[in-house]
Amino acid sequence: MNSHIADRRVGDRNILDAFALKFCAVVERHVKYIVVSGFVAISHGRRRTTEDIDMIIERMSKPEFISFHEDLINSGFHCMQSSKVGDVYDYLEEGDGVRYTNNENFFPPEMEVKFVKDELDELQMRTRKKLDFTGLDIWFSSIEFNIAFKEELLKSEKDMEDAKHLRIIYKDELDNNFIEEIKSKIRKLRLKQ
C-alpha cells in the first residue's frame, strides 16, 4: 500500500470515518453543523461508499467564516473551488456548496459544505443528534429527516436503498408522524414550482 494512502487512516477508523471526524472536529470549534444524506446511511453500516460527505452549517458573517476557513486550511484541508476565502464565502452566500478535500490534489473524499437555507434546514439543525449506533462523535440530522429527504426528494435507487436500510436499523424507534410532517414541508418548500 502507498504510504500516503495508509496515512489517511486514523487508528481503527476507515478512510471515510477518519476524514469526517477530523473535519467535524474543526467545524465544531466555529459553528453549529449537521452531516446529512449518504454518510448517515454508510455510518449505519450501509455497504456502499461515497466521494462526498454533505454538511450543512449555520450562516456566518464573513469575518467568522474567514477564521473558520483558515482553521480548516491550517488543519490540512484544501478548498476545491478557490484558494481565495472571499470567493469561497461568496459561493456559500449564493447558495452553492463548497468542497474541501484533505489533499492538495483534490482527491476524494470531499466534504461539501452549505449554509442553512430555509426553515427545513433550520428544523434539521434544531433536531440534530449524535447517533450512538455509529460510534462516531459527529452531529447528524435526525434519522427521520434523512429518510424523508431520501424518499420524498432525492428518490434515486441508492437513496431509496439508504432509506430502507435506515428504516430497518431503527424500525422500533422511528417517529413516522414526524417523517410525514417533514415530507409535507419538503413538498411545500423544495418541490413547489
Binding site: M1, N2, H4, I5, R8, R9, D12, R13, N14, I15, L16, D17, I42, H44, G45, R46, R47, T49, E51, M80, Q81, G95, D96, G97, V98, R99, N105, F106, F107, P108, P109, E110, E112, K117, F133, G135, E157, E161, K164, H165, I168, I169, K171
Partner: protein, 71 residues
C-alpha cells in the same frame, strides 16, 4: 432499474447490521470502504505520473466541481 434481488440483499444486510454488534458489521464495511479508496487513490497516483494523466486529473476536477449541488 436494479432487480428485486438487489433490494432483498440490502434488506438482508440491514437486518444483519441491526442484529449484530458494531464490531462485526463495521469490520466488513471498513474493508469495503478502504478498498474502494485505496484502489481509486492508486489509480489517481498513477495518473499523476504522466503529463496526459495530469490533464485527465484536471478535467476530472472540473467535472466533479460541476456536480456540486446548487441551493
Amino acid at each position: 432499474m436494479r432487480d428485486k434481488l438487489h433490494m432483498e440483499s440490502v434488506e438482508k444486510w440491514a437486518e444483519f447490521v441491526r442484529a449484530h454488534p458494531r464490531e462485526e458489521w463495521k469490520r466488513v464495511v471498513d474493508v469495503f470502504v478502504n478498498a474502494v479508496y485505496e484502489k481509486s487513490q492508486a489509480f489517481y497516483a498513477r495518473l499523476e505520473k504522466t503529463e496526459e494523466g495530469r490533464e485527465i486529473l484536471a478535467r476530472l476536477k472540473v467535472e466533479r466541481l460541476k456536480s456540486v449541488k446548487r441551493g
